[in-house]
Point group: C2
Chain length 141, copies 2
């Protein structure tokens, strides 16, 4: 999955969201780090480059970007929210050994849950947990 940084900036302009230095850095971080980072990882990852960045700003920025629909939040564990620059429908697999999160394609419209007829669905999420191939190869299951 490839995300174009320039088109993200265009989207910010369209939505009248200011292109502050901090916001651009957070967006840049997310486009170059496809590993679904936490707010804390973003904060630490940017600290060398933007030493004055505050964690509150990271949270505020992520919140704005979420509202604008430029990113998505992933709740797999109860104690950590992860952020994804890829807003297309796709599934996530979290390896319980190495903790990595893998993307996978799904045809999410395969479930036309008839029990939900008359419901308005705004958001669809699919995630699996288990052990990834490389951890199995390493005998870490």
């Amino acid at each position: 999955m490839k995300v174009n940084f320039e088109s993200l900036i265009d989207e910010l302009k369209n939505k009248k969201i200011r292109l502050s230095h901090q916001r651009l850095k957070v967006l840049e971080y997310l486009t170059t780090n496809y590993n679904h980072p936490t707010a804390d990882q973003i904060y630490n990852g940017l600290h060398d480059e933007v030493p004055t960045l505050s964690k509150t700003t990271v949270y505020n920025t992520l919140s704005s970007l979420l509202d604008a629909g430029l990113i998505r939040a992933i709740n797999i564990e109860d104690n950590e929210v992860r952020y994804d620059i890829n807003t297309h429908d796709h599934g996530h697999f979290k390896c319980e050994s190495c903790k990595n999160i893998y993307d996978f394609n799904i045809d999410i419209d395969l479930f036309e849950a008839d029990q939900l007829s008359g419901f308005e669905i705004n958001d669809k999420n699919v995630f699996f947990k288990g052990t990834c191939r490389s951890c199995i190869a390493d005998g870490k299951e």
Copy 2:
């Protein structure tokens, strides 16, 4: 979805988990309250009947029951974990208006994500968000 309380007790015995008064009450609460309650809701719901119950015990109990596979945890929002006595594969729909969580049947094996070949999948989760039928009827979308 119907869950038999007696068979849950048998499972506890099989797994050598003590049938303490508190654990039985938490299990009973979950079997009679199919609304995917939070730890706090369980605590408050049992308070009249078991005034000495502590919140720590609720958490401890839920943790044991999770380990034993008798219940499932649902992470839809980042700030609340909900618990489900129904451990069969099924999807969840959370209405963003009335906050209720609805179950729906899914054939989860429809996604055989080929990208996950060689991965060991232990846990599959599907949840949607949106507005439920009755909230739409009430014009609350």
